[in-house]
Symmetry: D2
Subunit: 309 residues, 4 copies
């Protein structure tokens, strides 16, 4: 049984793609694309799905579209793998509303980056978790967003892990000194899951004890990330390093076509589009790449698809 | 006539408080408080109101509450002064929905900080403005948020000012080298308004050519900020410096009771509450100050009220 | 009498150029250039000189060249105006050695940015000042470096101002909320001088109570900055704003030819070279501008020279 | 043969402690302590020594003391292991002088963090390396300093690696996405060494292909870090993770007694002092810990010494 809500059971493990949100336009899902993408990653052996995260462009989606996405994905997945739903809204009433929809539709857990408009102190964050967690109908993962220093200090994480309903941490900060510190303190919380965000760090994280990765590239090549995860868990170092090299190639060829933080998602959607999986329409304030980048990424995606293990 | 929408007429000028949002709880406005606060600032002679800004805790408010706030304030103000409405949502569909409500209710302008989840490049920002502005039913002010470097580079501001419907810039970055650069380039845009955010910089900004200030403290002591504005515009340097000293005292006594970015709003709401103007309930993830800070701020607010010019 | 060491007398006031260090090569001063530049600024009416600051490329100069510079400048100035000497070394023994040379050669004060390799806490900074100040033979100004947040917290500045021998603060951080806070607390320290760094902020700083400016552009056009200072002190607002506009033109035309933090000094040395004042050789890791930028700056410098008040 | 200068031979590998600089006072080395510490680490099996780095408090040491340190260490080591010497001065003439002393005394390589007073652009950095490298008498390692984003962009590193005399990179930035990118591009430069700084990341770095670590804790417990290095190189994952856990305990118990960036060096010197290895005198602006922290660290150091593998 996969349910993450069976705490204090075994922690969630494996590869959980942060699902791209296929869009037809700013207020419409690309439903066939969403269906294809969901089957693509489940068919690739992933251990769960995470929707409404950074890669899912959650901040750029309107409220009703977010609720529809939750309903659609939970319906399609139909409990074949756990579904995690981001509730990183800046307003608590909106977070609670999404949590309610997630619960009603059969999702398995929630994921929270704290309100990010302006930074809260650690005391304020802890108070917020204490007030929020009891109102949530599903287990909660904390989330450190990408491209920023970790929001949750290690001591805050430790205290949060003693609260009922807190299931673990997804760390996308890329700060591995922080990550190793969390990993060490999670020795005291055997029910808690620690997931790494940046896929460039998946190999080293799992080798040194992480439970898995929430890797953007697993939208595109789920089998690669699943294979890397299994190799690392099995302690097959040679194979792990080899697959890690392939992941680094995916990053180099797909994510670096543009400048700025949006380049990863633009590149990913562009590659998914070129492989016929879903639309590459971007939520504002971003737009799909222009022709030259699109051609370059399409070629790279084909080449990677042919060559990857 | 005050309407900012009469471009290319005279630019908006004066003191425009970023209105605090009085809350009864997380999903309910403190309506009597909102009414009292609105009359308090209009009675103090302010030149406009700005709702749904940082001081208004916009990111922490749910969508339906935001729309209700727009309706209530526009109704109460009833065109006595211009009303500016923040549309700094992370999703364009939500920004457009608030803009629509603002227009329908008789607001005069919109204010936009760009989606802040992750940073867009200057090219992406400019493209976003080009696509967004034509869809807006009211003139738009750009907005650099507080506690962060300016989001809009000077060259981006220059290009934005050539677009129809862009009315000016509200700069809360506190970066005065940037501000002075914008002031210099606004010489080419006589219709454009330049407003300063941090009230600590109101005196020097207006003395050197800004059109006014969007000052949090004007919720509390509107007459002080209006008097400072008029003294600076009149070139009465002695009086300006004297009133600036009083503003610095407000900042020192009201905003620095706590730590972190939320301390300004907490202190302000606490002072407003202690003077009987409105509730000091805070949107999550923040909470009102505890007893010691509240007592200290209440005493300071009474003392300031008695002593201010 | 100008001596800053006559504390608790009147604080130092006026325009104090952070003198460019004219170089023939990496280990040799351009002595004729240094002589011309010194006479140029003194002839322009400046109220003091500051050597071995950021604009003087102090970090890029070898130890023996620094000591020679102190001797040469103190000799040339020959007490016509106060000379301030930077001792912002990362090693205290080197700071003390320069302080000793400065004292022996007749300099009037020292200027200290704390060791900048890695940040000290405020307690560590305060302890450092307590141990350092008694060993210094001359009054000391604290210094917040450009392009960084202020190093000295307001409360640290307050405590430092109670130590014997601390004469004031030169703030180049550009953070005007900080600056206004310091200005307010200096009301308790009538002997202390508060100087602004970025010349874009000179007008507003002096209008609201600063004692003067340490402005890079005063190397080039000392009379402009002196005139602006006098206009602001006299409360002549119209004239102040007019001269402030000219300073903004100097900044725009001379400092922004390149990218990055070094562009100000490169532009300044280039302009000084083009006007025949001194060599434009830059200390490593920087180099003088290439031909296109040099030509553009030379033309701008000529035009400004002809047009400035 | 260990000489790193035999390029294009095999790259340097292993554990290279960034040697603490034992001080009697601000201008005097603790010579017996330096001797004991040197023998302690060589006896522990380290593969080289790095002096005048961050852990060696290089920025806080006066010039003559630095030169003396180079002479003393090279003399004591007497070519038993390679000696790397930091030349991260802010003035090129000082860097060249230390390089000269290092060469004359028999050191094997130099290590350079670029002038850090204000940031150079990547073009400026590359130009600096092109001018500097030919003047150096020994191979050069680039160095990204701790507690800061990487200074050398990947493309700059790639170009630098094609210059004669550039031997590799020591990355203390802690940014593992960056590190993995460099590791991937070093596939094209088989002579180049890639070393990790933060010891918390030693295990994962060597497992995924780094050549070794420049780990502060190897001053204290050299055998632990050497054993971890060998386990990781041998692909003994179980043992690597076990030893990594011990390193994390060293970090937790020794480095976190205080606040701020200096806490690591203070803790390390304090532990070395408590084990009788050398003085815990700190270069300004820092000072040794007070009694409570010293007692706590001394106990931890004894306990670790007894328990470590």
């Amino acid at each position: 049984m996969h349910h993450v809500s069976e705490a204090p059971g075994a922690p969630l493990r494996g590869i959980i793609p942060p699902l791209v949100t296929p869009l037809a336009d700013h207020s419409t899902l690309d439903l066939p694309g969403l269906e294809r993408l969901t089957e693509h990653v489940i068919g690739g052996g992933v251990h769960g799905l995470f929707i409404l995260g950074t890669t899912g462009e959650a901040p750029g989606l309107g409220a009703s579209l977010k609720h529809e996405l939750v309903r659609r994905v939970c319906g399609s997945v139909s409990r074949r793998v756990p579904v995690l739903v981001g509730i990183s809204e800046t307003a608590i009433t909106e977070s609670l509303a999404i949590a309610e929809t997630a619960h009603r539709c059969g999702a398995d857990a929630l994921v929270l980056a704290p309100p990010y408009y302006f930074p809260a102190t650690q005391d304020e964050l802890l108070g917020y978790l204490e007030r929020l967690a009891p109102q949530l109908p599903l287990p909660l993962f904390l989330y450190n967003m990408p491209y920023r220093p970790p929001v949750f200090a290690p001591e805050t994480v430790r205290q949060a892990m003693t609260m009922p309903g807190i299931a673990g941490l997804k760390d996308s900060s890329g700060d591995m000194c922080y990550f190793q510190k969390i990993r060490a303190l999670f020795a005291d919380f055997p029910h808690a899951s620690l997931f790494i965000g940046p896929e460039q760090l998946l190999a080293e994280s799992v080798l040194t004890g992480a439970h898995g990765g929430v890797c953007a590239g697993a939208n595109l090549f789920p089998k690669l990330y699943v294979a890397l995860y299994h190799a690392a868990v099995a302690g097959d170092l040679r194979r792990t390093v080899e697959l890690h090299g392939e992941v680094m190639e995916v990053c180099r060829l797909i994510y670096e076509a543009g400048h700025g933080a949006s380049s990863v998602i633009k590149g990913l959607k562009c590659a998914l589009g070129s492989l016929g999986l879903c639309s590459d329409f971007m939520a504002e304030p971003f737009q799909r790449f222009g022709e030259p980048e699109r051609r370059r990424i399409a070629e790279a995606a084909q080449r990677l698809k042919a060559s990857l293990t």
